[in-house]
């Protein structure tokens, strides 16, 4: 099945625009795409007329060109007929925004929809969803433009059973500086399901990491999904809701009681190297670090900081998250010490964590990072930066990123998230180095790299 009409549409019909109510979801969708995105947009309503000076077509087949994507926001009862019309006139695919299907017990209506679409190999997202958001291409979310927070274009894709969760994470992607390649709200996932999008995104050149918000899989579907994810060359992250068991069930065996639905879900994911995010902080941290690095590490962390306390906190967190912080040999320490500036040579502690002290300057961080990047006992460098130290400048982010680009060893930065440190942060992020805004998140970023492999 060809998904390009859904995610790379050049033309789009918005079916169900209202001629009276400008707040109607279809009108919002029309307005936010029309003349704002490169996609050519056609409004459709059986009554015809005009909207914002554009002709409203009575039906999709009246549109004088083939349409790639139909966004459908009409009463549920009408949707099967409209899908049939779309197929009839050669439309590429659809996003069915309308609710009123399986989620309220109208499985019959939903099944009719799927049967029609499947017969014609016609891809559709939904129903009961927000649909598709592709930066700079198309946006089928019925949320007014001025209310949305749009992440920058990037290489993390997110597929969500819940529209609200997707929109919320897009907002947080923006805050954290995570770029989005594609956001899809799949709602009732009647036809296009997680596994279909996994297969599409694996091949999408704009996507490097794929995140899923999953409420549950159908019978046997979880197995197919994880086996496909295990074969994926790109890291896959899953966050699951509905973890707590539904009341106390009488179980007749130890195994049945120990292998609850969520325990199985969680451990099977780990078995095949799908990274399970247990909460929102994990999801955001994992997305950010895996959008930068897709190669798994063993988890041997080198820590560089200007504050002993930050180093100690990071070591504790590393150990709690199954990461090692190996002590450097005295020879390694000596070679690092040689290159440090005079003022800190005698006071810096270099065993790992490397505490360069509050008197360190840019050069010291750069030289320590360069040394750690060449030591084989370290496979990831955590750089805990305190921009309020007088010796640190805004250039340091770009300079340290340069070391990663030369040496290829994963580098993760912690910088407090304050506007005045923006240039330092961008120096990292624009050069492909993830930046966390807490020590814990920095450690989670390293953990993601350790967990994106079968265990």
């Amino acid at each position: 099945m060809d998904f390009s009409p859904l995610f790379q549409p050049k033309s789009m019909a918005v079916i169900g625009v209202s001629l009276q109510n400008d707040q109607h979801p279809a009108n919002v969708i029309f307005r936010k795409n029309h003349l704002r995105y490169p996609v050519k947009v056609f409004p459709v309503n059986p009554k015809g007329g005009s909207l914002q000076g554009e002709t409203v077509f009575k039906k999709i087949s009246d549109i004088p060109q083939k349409v790639d994507l139909a966004v459908i926001a009409v009463r549920a009862d009408h949707v099967p007929d409209i899908i049939a019309e779309c197929i009839e006139c050669g439309t590429g695919g659809a996003a069915v925004i309308s609710g009123g299907f399986a989620e309220i017990g109208r499985n019959d209506l939903q099944e009719a929809l799927v049967a029609t679409a499947r017969k014609a190999d016609f891809p559709f997202i939904g129903p009961n969803c927000l649909g598709i958001y592709v930066p700079s291409i198309v946006d089928s979310f019925f949320l007014p433009s001025e209310r949305m927070v749009r992440p920058d274009q990037g290489n993390a894709a997110m597929v969500s059973q819940s529209g609200g969760i997707l929109v919320d994470h897009m907002l947080k992607f923006k805050q954290e500086g995570i770029g989005l390649s594609l956001g899809v709200s799949i709602g009732n996932k009647a036809m296009i399901r997680e596994i279909d999008l996994l297969e599409y995104l694996e091949k999408d050149p704009g996507t490097r990491v794929i995140a899923f918000y999953v409420e549950g899989f159908a019978g046997g579907e979880g197995r197919k999904f994880v086996l496909a994810a295990a074969r994926s060359p790109k890291p896959v992250i899953v966050i699951k809701s509905g973890k707590s068991p539904g009341g106390s069930r009488a179980v007749s065996s130890h195994t049945a009681s120990l292998a609850g639905d969520y325990e199985v879900f969680s451990q099977v994911l780990a078995q095949v190297g799908v990274v399970e995010a247990r909460d929102e902080l994990e999801l955001l941290s994992f997305c950010e670090s895996l959008s930068c690095y897709q190669t798994a590490i063993e988890g041997k962390i080198g820590i560089i900081t200007g504050s002993g306390g930050h180093g100690a906190m990071a070591v504790d967190l590393c150990s709690a998250h199954g990461l090692r912080v190996p002590e450097l040999t005295s020879r390694e320490q000596e070679s690092i010490r040689e290159d440090l500036s005079k003022s800190i040579k005698a006071i810096a502690s270099l065993g790992n964590p490397i505490d360069l002290t509050g008197s360190a300057v840019d050069e010291d961080f750069v030289s320590a990072a360069r040394h750690l990047s060449t030591i084989p006992e370290i496979d990831c460098v955590l750089m805990l930066l305190l921009p309020y130290l007088p010796g640190i400048t805004s250039d340091l982010g770009a300079r340290l990123s340069n070391i990663y680009q030369k040496e290829g060893k994963a580098l993760i930065a912690y910088v407090p998230n304050v506007e005045k440190y923006g240039m330092l942060i961008e120096g990292f992020e624009l050069n492909g180095v993830p930046v966390s805004h807490s020590i814990e998140a920095a450690v989670l970023m390293a953990e993601a790299l350790r967990r994106c492999q079968p265990c």
């Binding site: 046997g220 979880g222 065996s253 099977v268």
Partner: protein, 226 residues
């Protein structure tokens, strides 16, 4: 491939909802999984004959389609060391509901592990492995994997247990026979893949592992209700 004899056992057990322990052990044995030397004694004389051949000590367990949780019902006697205790146990069991005989088997020792299987709605057959015994639900030191298992899964599963150092030899104790444990788990995985359409879950608990061998001391196969 499901062997004919095993299929017959499963079909015959279907109405009961689960497979009687001696039948379950017969199935395990057919997959090369080690179980203690045992007999299904329908009379006290049968039990005595077993003891004459293999000697004391033995374990006696009630066999009854009505008694799933044998220990809870007082249907297990371990460390039977003389003819009188053997007779007492048989006598007591024969009064129990649905009595169909007594399972008499050799005592075995080792670290108590457990292996289990469940057919999960989303992920199909999964294998559980970990520390066994009657308190497994308290300590919950187990790991889960999708079946079938590959050989490389076994060391990874062992290393994910909190009590892994017990298996590796703790404070002077000898490590368990990892080869035997691996063979047991892989054979169990084969069995699970063959019969997953019939089962809801399986408990092999305890699996007693020592330096020389791994032996399944108790087995419960719960069947799907159709």
């Amino acid at each position: 491939m499901l062997k004919k004899g095993n299929k017959e056992i499963l079909d015959a057990s279907r109405n009961n909802g689960w497979v009687l322990e001696p039948d379950a052990k017969t199935i395990l044995h057919s997959y090369g999984i080690e179980v203690p030397q045992f007999i299904w004694a329908r009379s006290l004389e049968g039990a005595r004959e077993f003891v004459r051949k293999y000697g004391f000590p033995v374990v006696g367990k009630v066999i009854s389609p009505r008694i799933l949780h044998k220990s809870d019902a007082g249907g297990v006697v371990t460390g039977i060391n003389d003819d009188k205790s053997l007779g007492d146990a048989f006598q007591r069991f024969s009064q129990m509901e649905g009595f169909a005989g007594m399972l008499v088997e050799k005592m075995v020792s080792g670290i108590e592990l457990m292996a289990g299987a469940k057919v999960d709605y989303q992920f199909g057959p999964v294998i559980l492995f970990g520390m066994g015994g009657t308190e497994v639900e308290i300590y919950r030191d187990t790991v889960l994997r999708m079946a079938p298992l590959a050989e490389r899964d076994v060391p990874a599963m062992m290393s994910n247990l909190k009590a892994r150092s017990l298996l590796e030899g703790y404070r002077g104790s000898k490590p368990v026979d990892v080869g035997a444990l691996t063979r047991t788990l892989l054979a169990f995985s084969d069995l699970v893949m063959d019969i997953h359409e019939f089962i809801e879950s399986i408990d092999l608990n305890p699996v007693l592992c020592s330096t020389e061998k791994c032996i399944v001391a108790d087995a419960r196969i719960m069947l799907t209700t159709v």
